[in-house]
């Protein structure tokens, strides 16, 4: 099942893990300027999984602990900003307040047929999240050889960060080691 890549209806920034046709460039430093270059000249070295933070209950929230595998790849503050912004988005989506009551009552009165016409608030926020992740990938992560997968594609369990290595440079130590010390 590793050769099947799943692309959904929604426009998500999902990368195929299979390499494309291999015109292998060999830049001197493993810096990728955009997603196009990342695809053409990099190979997947490792994946880091940011787990959920359950201290506030079952709301969707991810741990902001900086994983050690990314230490050499990205600044801690950038990573924490991304995760905190995502957590804020999810908190906004799951907020129980006036709007969610209104939505619930209206939906109940129309026996939930109204969802055929309008989007739920959660879905609107998910779209915002998808756009945000794509923007972050383009601006922050791809230039550093990383790629974030939208958590919804992993069942909202983890934020998957794929670490890419330049295809030309083999045996670089930062990507090939798979330490398992991150996580909680």
């Amino acid at each position: 099942c590793s050769c099947v890549s799943l692309i959904g209806d929604r426009s998500r920034s999902e990368f195929s893990t299979a390499d494309s046709d291999g015109a292998s460039k060999a830049p001197v430093l493993p810096r990728f300027h955009n997603l196009q270059e990342l695809r053409h000249s990099a190979s997947l070295a490792n994946k880091v999984f940011i787990q959920r933070d359950y201290t506030d209950g079952t709301v969707c929230k991810f741990q902001t602990k900086f994983p050690s595998e990314l230490e050499s790849r990205i600044e801690r503050t950038l990573f924490e900003d991304t995760v905190k912004t995502l957590n804020n988005y999810y908190a906004e989506a799951e907020k129980i307040g006036g709007q969610s009551y209104l939505e619930g009552c209206l939906a109940c009165l129309t026996i939930y047929l109204i969802f055929l016409c309008i989007e739920t608030r959660y879905e609107k926020v998910l779209k915002k999240i998808s756009r945000y992740i794509q923007e972050q990938n383009e601006k922050v992560y791809a230039p550093r050889g990383l790629l974030i997968t939208d958590p919804i594609e992993r069942g909202m369990r983890v934020i998957e960060i794929s670490v890419y290595e330049d295809r030309g440079s083999s045996g670089s130590s930062s990507g090939s080691s798979t330490t398992s010390s991150s996580g909680r």
């Binding site: 209806d9 920034s13 129980i96 619930g104």
Partner: protein, 382 residues
């Protein structure tokens, strides 16, 4: 142009669910009892509309059948919504994530001596100052989130798992619990309503002594309806009361059966807001969660074979895929998590009163699944 059948993700989902309408409808494995439920509800209501309502509309008020129709429509809508929607299934871990978790577990357990059983895979998390144990699911290869549980009938981990209800033919979990509750509540009202007006009808007939041309048939129907309503009343009203109690405490049936928060060992329910109103609001008025399964997404095969590319898929990332064939009509605009259950009543035309007895991971009564559902799930190993 090569036209090829588009493979959607639901066809490759592991687990023992049945899917209909090209992935729009998702149910559990055995649907026989669900058909019985439908038969009882629709049958009893049909008898009521055919035999009692004309009399009551004329002699009492036309509002009676109107209200009965509204209630009936609501009951059916909630039943279909509960039965056909994704209860909150958690997808299984992909290989990389499973390996990552395995390595974490091995690192946490340290060295296990040869011959010793490895310690159980449990993660402790602190939720609202309570220690909650998260268990590892060997089937799905994940640590289950709090309140999730694995349903052995559907072979899925379900978020906020309540129970697997054979009467609705599906699990009851985070996404469809409120529909299930509204179903039992409205069914209780409908049962009481029909029961009450059956009694009124019989009493009126006694007093007025009017003989109509269907008089020989009507008493039998009334008796039948009264019997069905009587037995349903006790079970459904009881069930509604039980779930009202659970909602006020923000507990699931699963937790109640296991006695997770029964107070021994000083463990309190960490999810409860300690206020009945807040608990009810959270369970019934929280935002509608989306399905994470994406059943109707298009699956792209290996690059070597010509792949169907859906128009709405993010095909910009797949530069090497030859876009050489047309697909069938692209995914509809209706998002997949909102199954248009009202549009598909074609399962059966029976009525059944449902007397849902909460069962948790127990095998249901052996009823053979009806062959109406054409979709078959190929269980893919991971």
């Amino acid at each position: 142009m090569i036209t090829r059948k588009v493979t959607r993700k639901w066809e490759k989902l592991p687990g023992k669910n049945t899917f209909c309408c090209d992935g729009r409808v998702m149910m559990g494995r055995q649907k026989g009892v669900f058909y019985l439920t439908l038969f009882l509800i629709v049958g009893t209501c049909s008898l009521f509309f055919a035999f009692e309502c004309p009399y009551l509309a004329v002699h009492l008020s036309p509002a009676i059948p109107v209200f009965a129709v509204l209630l009936f429509v609501f009951v059916m809508a909630m039943l279909l919504r509960t039965s056909f929607s994704d209860p909150g299934v958690l997808p299984r871990a992909l290989p990389e994530e499973a390996n990552f978790i395995e390595m974490e577990i091995e690192a946490a357990n340290g060295n296990v001596m040869a011959g010793q059983r490895p310690p159980p895979r449990i993660k402790n998390v602190q939720i609202n100052n309570q220690i909650v144990k998260l268990k590892y699911c060997y089937t799905c290869k994940i640590f289950r989130p709090p309140r999730a549980s694995h349903c052995s009938i559907c072979d899925n981990c379900v978020d906020r798992f309540d129970h697997h209800c054979p009467w609705v033919g599906n699990c009851v979990g985070k996404r469809n619990y409120r529909y299930f509750y509204l179903f039992t509540l409205s069914l209780s009202l409908l049962t009481i309503y029909i029961f009450a007006f059956n009694i009124v009808h019989v009493v009126l007939r006694e007093y007025r002594n009017i003989f109509e041309h269907v008089v020989s048939l009507t008493p039998h129907c009334t008796v039948l309806e009264v019997l069905v309503c009587f037995f349903t009343l006790w079970s459904v009203v009881g069930l509604t009361g039980f779930h009202t109690y659970l909602i006020s405490l923000n507990q699931t049936t699963n937790e109640d059966i296991k006695g997770s928060w029964s107070g021994k060992n000083r463990v309190q329910n960490p999810y409860s807001h300690k206020s009945i109103i807040k608990n009810c609001c959270e369970v019934l008025c929280s935002p509608t969660y989306p399905s994470v399964l994406d059943r109707r997404g298009v699956m792209l095969e290996d690059l070597s074979s010509p792949t169907p590319s859906d128009a709405s898929a993010a095909s910009t990332h797949q530069s090497s895929n030859p876009v050489s064939q047309t697909t069938k009509s692209s995914a509809p605009l209706i998002p997949n998590e909102h199954t248009p259950d009202e549009a598909k009543p074609g399962i059966g035309s029976g009525t059944q009163k449902s007397t849902s007895s909460p069962k948790e991971e127990k095998p249901p009564s052996p009823t053979s699944p009806n062959a109406v559902a054409p979709a078959v799930i190929k269980e893919s190993s991971h």
